[in-house]
Symmetry: C2
Subunit: 299 residues, 2 copies
């Protein structure tokens, strides 16, 4: 199967439909790119476009989107609730199938370099594409937003862009370009009304508490269900698969004398992770998504 | 998602590559049809072509393939190991996604009627498309093969075709047209060297022994692995899902004091069945293949 990379750029425009349409059109104009979703928020004055393609087509679409945004959006006139520093504000590349996170980092760098050279919009690399540890976190990169960064970059060497020079683009600002794994939102509901149980399990299993890597977890009460929930974000299912997380929650719940009621997958998950779960259930030693009939049909 | 029907016609020609190529070309000539696989066997003098499409495109491709086979294959000159009664010998339609077995029965009937009316090749309906219980089984339909059926149909009313008249096509014979669910080949290996254990479990769970419907099962010795195996064919995973079969084998193995070593999926399985397994593992109440990221991308 050809490589599939997902790209989810965020643009600082959520009110003028014609501008968003032109950006979407610039993305769609590349053969091999497929736009999956467009969401605009008027309060945030921000749009999120989800598209997929191979290494070449996502690169080309991302660049054309950056060019359209720089031409059509003037940050000096932009107001909205959401923090932002660029017309094209963030540009993450996400490996879906037949491609590694390292290859997405390469695409991110190639795109950032071209955005800087062709459009004179400086770029900051974040998450897996970060060139400095303090830029892994997007919030650090975007601190001060457009207005603050525009000043800071002139005097503070620590804010110097990864691709660019001492100064932002006057109207398009700067863009954060990154690479990350697909996010899986996974919840486990417990037959208990004691939120402390859910909180204790969440604390035990999450990465920040010394648990499993790439697991974020919180405990909540579900009032209408009369249950409590361990709510999780899995930020790299190839390192910590869902099956392992579910087993860990079961083990911790057992230790606290509480039963697991059911699990919930929120939104979309990659085929490989579904296949991993099926393989675990049936104790399959050798099973891959290549054995899924529809994959043969679709690709 | 659009309906996906798989069609796996078998042709009585496995030696003349130009003939097989022409048949494949006739299938491919329909927009919306995708050929997944072509396998020719010279000993059997038979080719199996696997293609997919929607209701309209599989019907049209199947008809064009029947026409090409009737024009290019002369059964009076055909010799091969495999039983056969027609130039296009069998034509099964299989529901993969977004379509029911009943809709495949409709497509099968529409195709059979057109093959008879346009090509004067009589058709016998089998498996889920059978119009008489004794024709569910393909072997009953094909009994006597081309040479035997050609005579029998003239005198034996029980061999009268479902679409056709008293007599076969002089060179293209007759075609068995059917509908069936995708077949899943699933094995479970046991930590035991006692083949009687595997045979006992197989007997207990298979449909013919009063076990689960649509389960065929046999017990074997795996000499090189020093294990025994329950080897199964699941002929309707929507009635008896893999998860239920696996749990039944586990229960029976437990009762006999034997441990399950691992499972094996041979070949391809439908996405829906993989999603069912994932849902069982995580105790998901509401999970469907619509939540698989790649499905959004591919369809």
């Amino acid at each position: 199967m050809a490589a599939i990379i997902e790209c989810v750029p965020n643009f600082s425009e959520g009110r003028r439909k014609d501008v968003v349409d032109k950006i979407v059109h610039s993305i769609r104009s590349v053969p091999g790119t497929k736009v999956l979703d467009v969401e605009s928020d008027a309060d945030h004055n921000r749009s999120v476009i989800t598209f997929v393609g191979n290494k070449e087509s996502v690169h080309e679409s991302a660049f054309r989107a950056a060019r359209a945004a720089a031409e059509l959006i003037d940050l000096t006139k932009h107001q909205g609730e959401h923090p932002r520093m660029g017309a094209l504000d963030v540009l993450p590349f996400i490996p879906i199938s037949g491609v590694t996170i390292d290859e997405c980092v390469e695409v991110a760098n190639r795109t950032a370099e071209r955005i800087w050279k062709s459009l004179k919009v400086p770029c900051y690399m974040y998450e897996a594409a970060a060139k400095r540890p303090d830029r892994k976190n997007l919030e650090n990169v975007r601190r001060g937003q457009f207005e603050g960064l525009r000043e800071a970059v002139l005097t503070d060497d620590s804010r110097y862009p990864d691709y660019g020079s001492k100064g932002l683009h006057p109207t398009a600002g700067a863009t954060a370009v990154g690479a990350r794994m697909p996010l899986i939102a996974f919840n486990v509901n417990l037959d208990s009304t004691d939120v402390e149980v859910a909180k204790a399990i969440a604390k035990k299993i999450r990465a920040s508490g010394g648990g499993m890597p790439h697991v974020k977890a919180l405990g909540f009460t579900l009032k209408e269900k009369n249950m409590v929930q361990v709510s999780m974000n899995l930020t790299d299912y190839t390192v910590t698969p869902i099956s392992k997380v579910f087993e860990a929650v079961n083990t911790e719940a057992d230790a606290l004398g509480v039963k697991v009621a059911n699990g919930e997958i929120i939104g979309l998950i990659p085929l490989d992770s579904v296949c991993d779960l099926a393989a675990r259930f049936l104790k399959l030693d050798a099973f891959t998504s290549r054995q899924v009939l529809e994959r043969r049909i679709w690709t």
